[in-house]
């Protein structure tokens, strides 16, 4: 038997290849179901709202406006959900920690601070790109600060990263609190409402810019998928496997920071999606990021759209902040899924 030379030395024929990266046919079926859920949710989203159940009358002006609003919400939900969930997936892979998500590393906190500042101070002049860009700049700054705190010579450990992330995150939220408490009534209301998380459609220009950012970042991360698979074995192993681990780590951290920042600037502080959806998708599709990243994107989007639809209808005409629904409705559901399939999601 020869190891380095070719030849048919294998004990088994063509029928029994080692299955690399999970039984693909199974995953394909599951992916199809997930993709099929999107138009369904689109329809559901168009029919649900505080103004009543059913398609709005498109003949009337108000009906068209309501439909517009509902479709805008669908669009926002898909984008924000996809961004948060993909970002969480990548953070978990890079930090090799099941608790990692944009919030834990302070990235969301930084983005939130940036967004709050630009809402309160910047206001009019920053325009469509301004909000996501300010959020991104602040998120990036936070990430750098977190890294600098954690870095005590050499490569910072995951634990010190998370610890300093939590600290910086807390500082960011207290600064936001301070800003809110000193703001005028109107500004305070805007920021608080935004912080609770809501998917009120932004301007089309802003949505378009966000769409571009989010799509580009998700595709970019998807391209890193095989590298992320290797990276889950640790940076050192990745190096031995011929990966430029530093480059991959930094690029994917940047891309997922961009995702988180854009999501926060669009929808505020929506929790839960970035943490739990990746775990559920991992338990369904396995840990291969070539499946996991698109699945997380679609799954996160679908989950948020569903939660938003519930948020709009449950107590109509009063709208519940979507961040409340994600945790309240999603928690128990995902708990059931994870309890059944925990061993495929994460093992430590």
């Amino acid at each position: 038997m020869s190891l380095t030379k070719g030849g048919s030395t294998s004990k088994c024929g063509d029928g029994c290849r080692p299955a690399p990266f999970n039984g693909s046919p199974k995953n394909r079926r599951r992916a199809l179901l997930l993709v099929a859920a999107v138009p369904l949710l689109f329809a559901v989203s168009a029919m649900l709202g505080p103004s009543g159940v059913g398609l709005p009358d498109t003949a009337s002006v108000s009906g068209r406006a309501i439909l517009d609003l509902r479709l805008g919400r669908f669009f926002m939900g898909m984008l924000v959900g996809a961004a948060l969930s993909t970002s969480g997936t990548v953070f978990q892979a890079i930090l090799r920690n099941p608790l990692a998500e944009p919030y834990v590393l302070g990235v969301s906190g930084g983005a939130g601070l940036g967004a709050a500042l630009s809402i309160l101070v910047g206001g009019a002049f920053i325009g469509a790109i301004g909000l996501p860009l300010t959020a991104f700049a602040f998120a990036l700054l936070t990430l750098l600060v977190v890294y600098a705190i954690a870095n005590q010579g050499g490569v910072p450990s995951v634990y010190s990263l998370i610890l300093s992330g939590v600290i910086v995150s807390a500082i960011c939220s207290s600064v936001i609190m301070f800003l809110v408490s000193t703001a005028d009534i109107e500004g305070m209301h805007t920021v608080v409402w935004w912080m609770l998380g809501n998917l009120q459609p932004a301007s089309w220009a802003e949505q378009f810019v966000s769409l571009a950012f989010i799509l580009a970042a998700i595709v970019g991360l998807w391209l890193f998928a095989p590298a992320l698979n290797v990276l889950t074995l640790g940076r050192e192993m990745a190096h031995y496997q011929g990966l430029d681990a530093g480059f991959v780590t930094i690029s994917s951290l940047l891309l997922s920071t961009l995702l988180a920042a854009t999501a926060v600037s669009m929808g505020g502080m929506i929790g839960f999606v970035g943490l739990i959806v990746p775990h559920v998708m991992r338990s369904i599709f396995g840990p291969d990021h070539r499946w996991l990243i698109p699945a997380s994107a679609i799954g996160g989007g679908a989950f948020l759209v569903l939660c938003d639809a519930l948020a709009r209808t449950l107590m109509a005409p009063v709208e519940i902040p979507v961040g409340v629904v994600t945790a309240l409705a999603g928690g128990p559901f995902f708990l059931i899924v994870l309890r059944k399939k925990m061993k495929y999601a994460w093992i430590d």
């Binding site: 004990k11 990266f21 892979a93 840990p287 093992i347």
Partner: protein, 431 residues
């Protein structure tokens, strides 16, 4: 690419390498070459720089001074993928927090080839060969995390093999495996080294294992390469004592001839001295356990007459027990006997082990008689008749005579210890 020219170049060469981490130099002026196809083991105490050397060899740690060459090319000049196709690393413990199967982990070794899409036929073949080689093919659909440590380590080895590297380095990868699994991994390593001509660098803190398997040992101490040579050259008692800063002994394994090092822990285990000297009559390995137990109980010992090269005489030497030695396979001569008599006269008692008696060593029983006559206690292992190869069963007769004269028979070591304890009660340890 296996080129024809770089075949002549060493697989791995350190040329005056000084390396370390931020503000801490670990390796100092390290110089060595490993030829392609060699099996080399890097040994040294904890914290001596073994792992740093491995990281420097793979380019993970950049040398501050000097050059590290892989097949004649400077490591830092290699593209990551080129480097990974030359050198594979099996870590101390591969950890995959996510639920990858064995096949998936092994296939990660193929990511050296750097395609985004699914693996092709060549990847499958290579991964499969690696799994067959390491005997994990049956486990391919199992989750890596649910495997035993040995199976995980074989999977990690399979992953490194799937890279199809020309040199494999193992970072104390077998240190935490039990003997069965570590032997299995070692067997695989020897196979890939011999059959596939893959160069192996095994980092190990297990000196005996390293000496057992490697063609060459490199001993590193405080970041410096202090000895580089055959196991016999490196496993030198004085050198190892200095490097490991502890009392140890190097013997030759009677079966393989390999040098074997053992720590001298016995001293710490011993009871407070009872200030009694026992003379032990043994031979052929029957004395080893006696020596050990009696030393632990706090006795001073002497031994003999033993033949040189007898395993008891080796044990006596290792344990610093004064012993009278006779030439191998020779009957005990007058001079040795008179020496042994003097020892028995100095002793407080005599213990005879489960030694077979023949014409050559029958006189040893005279030593027991001598002690008995001097009123000293004598313990004889029971059943001498079955070990008696003297003409006319002289030893059994002598034993009966001794027992009549007051010698006590013992049938197992616990019994012996109880009898000895009865004669000389242990001094009570201070509360």
């Amino acid at each position: 690419m296996p080129g024809s020219t770089d075949r002549l170049k060493p697989a791995l060469a350190f040329r005056g390498v000084t390396a370390g981490y931020k503000g801490r130099t670990v390796l100092r002026e390290v110089d060595f070459e490993i030829a392609e196809g060699e099996f080399v083991s890097l040994i040294g105490p904890n914290g001596s720089g073994k792992s740093t050397m491995l990281k420097t060899a793979t380019g993970l740690v950049k040398p501050l001074e000097g050059r590290v060459e892989l097949f004649g090319r400077e490591v830092s000049s290699l593209k990551p993928r080129e480097r990974a196709s030359l050198i594979g690393v099996v870590p101390q413990k591969l950890e995959s927090p996510m639920a990858f199967t064995v096949a998936e982990i092994v296939m990660i070794g193929r990511s050296v080839r750097g395609r985004w899409g699914g693996p092709d036929a060549a990847d499958h073949d290579s991964a499969e060969r690696a799994m067959i080689y390491t005997n994990v093919l049956d486990l391919k659909d199992r989750l890596f995390n649910q495997l035993s440590a040995g199976e995980q380590q074989r999977t990690a080895l399979a992953m490194a093999l799937a890279q199809e590297p020309r040199i494999i380095m193992l970072d104390e990868s077998i240190a935490h495996l039990d003997i069965n699994h570590s032997q299995e991994v070692l067997r695989i390593l020897m196979n890939i080294n011999r059959e596939e001509k893959i160069t192996v660098l095994l980092v190990s803190h297990d000196l005996n294992l390293a000496a057992q398997i490697a063609d060459r040992l490199m001993l590193i101490d405080k970041g410096r390469l202090v000895r580089n040579g055959s196991p016999g050259e490196v496993m030198e008692e004085e050198l190892l004592r200095r490097v490991y800063d502890c009392d140890l002994r190097v013997r030759r394994d009677p079966f393989s001839g390999n040098p074997v090092v053992s720590g001298v822990l016995d001293a710490a285990l011993r009871r407070p001295p009872v200030r009694k000297r026992l003379h032990v009559i043994s031979g052929g390995g029957s004395g080893i356990e006696l020596f050990r137990r009696l030393l632990i109980e706090g006795f001073d010992l002497s031994a003999g007459v033993l033949n040189r090269l007898d395993s008891d005489s080796e044990a006596a030497r290792a344990l610093d027990i004064p012993a009278v030695l006779e030439q191998p396979f020779s009957p005990v001569g007058g001079e040795a006997l008179s020496q042994a008599r003097r020892m028995v006269e100095a002793a407080d008692g005599v213990v005879a082990g489960l030694v077979p008696f023949g014409p050559g060593n029958l006189v040893n029983l005279d030593l027991a008689e001598l002690a008995l006559k001097a009123g000293k206690p004598v313990w004889l292992a029971a059943g001498i008749a079955s070990r008696d190869y003297t003409p006319g069963k002289a030893a059994a007769a002598k034993a009966r005579e001794l027992c009549d004269g007051g010698a006590v028979e013992w049938s197992n070591i616990h019994e012996l210890m109880a009898q000895v304890e009865q004669t000389w009660p242990q001094p009570k340890t201070q509360q």
